[in-house]
Subunit: 220 residues, 2 copies
């Protein structure tokens, strides 16, 4: 670790982007303080002026490391990867590309469509009721998972984790998305490889401790 | 460059994700062959079996480098960055994090909501007409650009480009998104810093050659 400055994670228990960062911090054994930003209370604490000064997107996560402020979950994980072992990316450029490709498939093509702000727009502008919004969520998760499953199943580099037997950035993105998929009732039967990988990861202490239900701000 | 294997880019002139990769290839002076995947013709060439075997997401870009196949624009750019100079990321971890944060703000929180497949879902499932779909697009671009502008304006590291005076991954994401913003009639007046940066980048040959209208498959 480059220095011993304190790490603070602005967090929300059910935010899957933040869940990725918790996994990475835990895998690296980094100590951090969580500050809960309640996305639903009082119209959303993330919209308050103090938090917006830290994060103009009014989104979680934000990581503060000493004086440094970093937003965007994948930028945070790559940053952590550059300052603390063990690495969550393999060594060779092609293998690194594969791990990033899997991570970005979820971070760019699945998760952004399932965000709270998007669900609200669908409700208010298009009159989408709860059932239509859940259908929307499941649609994009299923589409992304079909490709993710194909990429895992077709590649001999897939191991107990997405890439080999040690967790990478790809697993840190997959596991929170599988949590969301279960939450919104997506049938995972068509995705045996990614389900197996996610279930394996969840047996590891770093992933277990990062589960939404294990966070201090979790609501039963 | 690690080797001299040929590079092929599966491309579509108006795809802003592919536009990012063209910028990166040009900045690095890498020669590449473009294979156009027409996203609109015959229900979309990306859905054909041959292309799906290469890219199960049926999306562009796909980069083939010798025998290696890489999907997801940011994974491709990071890969190119690891095998060929000049780097599109600064050297220090915090600076790298800032560049990735800006890139991901666009790649995760703006662009995915403006995709063709999303516009089609809105049309078919929610009956969103062209004007509602364009309002949707402008909404997410404006929201993302407000945060992007704030991050650029607040940071002394912003130069002629997003980070300093040399182009980075952040510029490779910003410029295509500004192209989309202009295409869909977003007023850029509230975003003077990002507009200035994008306009500066477009004076550089690598960015100019990557413009959608300069691609072989461009339609007037």
């Amino acid at each position: 670790m480059a220095d011993t400055d304190a790490i603070t994670l602005y967090d929300y228990w059910r935010s899957s982007a933040t869940y990725r960062v918790r996994i990475a911090l835990n895998l690296k054994g980094l100590r951090y303080t969580q500050k809960a930003v309640h996305l639903l209370r009082d119209g959303g604490e993330q919209h308050g002026a103090a938090y917006r000064a830290l994060n103009p997107q009014a989104s979680v996560p934000t990581l503060v490391h000493g004086e440094r402020v970093i937003r965007q979950s994948l930028a945070i994980v790559e940053y952590l990867d550059e300052i603390a072992a063990p690495s969550l990316l393999p060594a060779a450029p092609l293998a690194r590309a594969r791990v990033r490709e899997l991570a970005l498939l979820i971070a760019c093509d699945v998760h952004p469509l399932n965000n709270l702000r998007v669900a609200r727009y669908l409700e208010h502008e298009f009159g989408a009721d709860a059932s239509a919004r859940e259908r929307w969520m499941r649609h994009w998760m299923a589409e992304g998972f079909r490709a993710f499953e194909a990429l895992l199943a077709a590649d001999g580099a897939t191991g107990r984790c997405c890439h080999g037997d040690a967790p990478t950035l790809a697993d840190a993105c997959l596991v929170p998305q599988v949590y969301n998929a279960r939450r919104f009732g997506l049938d995972l039967a068509p995705f045996p490889t990614l389900s197996r990988v996610a279930d394996h990861c969840l047996t590891l202490p770093a992933f277990d401790a990062a589960r939404p239900e294990n966070q201090p701000d979790a609501v039963a």
